[in-house]
């Protein structure tokens, strides 16, 4: 899945480590999600959406 995490993070001037702390996950997790190598679970996707005050669809887009 493609995502806009890097953009959303940059808008808030957060580093990957900052976002990881806010999500209570490892920095590696944020990096893997951001680069599209790992798809987060639905609960984590909701957490991301709440954190960025948007919807899951606004963050993640299906490549197909």
């Amino acid at each position: 899945m493609k995502n806009r995490l890097r953009v959303l993070r940059a808008e808030r001037e957060w580093s990957q480590a900052d976002l990881a702390l806010r999500l209570e996950v490892s920095r590696q997790s944020v990096n893997a999600i951001e680069t599209g190598k790992f798809d987060p679970s639905l609960p984590l996707a909701f957490k991301l959406a709440r954190l960025f005050e948007t919807t899951i669809e606004a963050i993640f887009t299906d490549e197909n």
């Binding site: 702390l21 209570e24 996950v25 490892s26 590696q28 990096n31 999600i33 790992f38 987060p40 984590l44």
Partner: protein, 134 residues
Amino acid sequence: MERKIDNSALGRYKKRMLALMVVLALVSQLVFWEYIHNHPTGVLAYMLAVLPALSFIGIMVTYGLYIAELKDEFVRTVVKTSLLWSIVATLSVTTLWGFLELLANAPHLQPLLVLPIFGIFLGITTALVNRRYE
């Protein structure tokens, strides 16, 4: 920022492993001493022989608990994937060696060595799976 990543699962895993290693070392020393000096037989010999194995089983249970307690889903995925690949590698190598023993008179592989072999594969597969996500 006040919040910190929860590394408690890893901390508990390390503490349990350390405790088990100490128990394993002590139990092994005791059992071998008993076998060398008193030459136990019958049921006692069987019971004593099982004791060090229980510590090894404890190590596997500890690893299982670590996976169950992991809160970071990405780290859990990495650990589970590594674990699966190391199981595949261990089963492949031991099956292959079994046929080599059966048909080509290869030296006997002690079943005791399966766990260390698995541990080596787990180290290799963990490094490889981590690299995949870098």
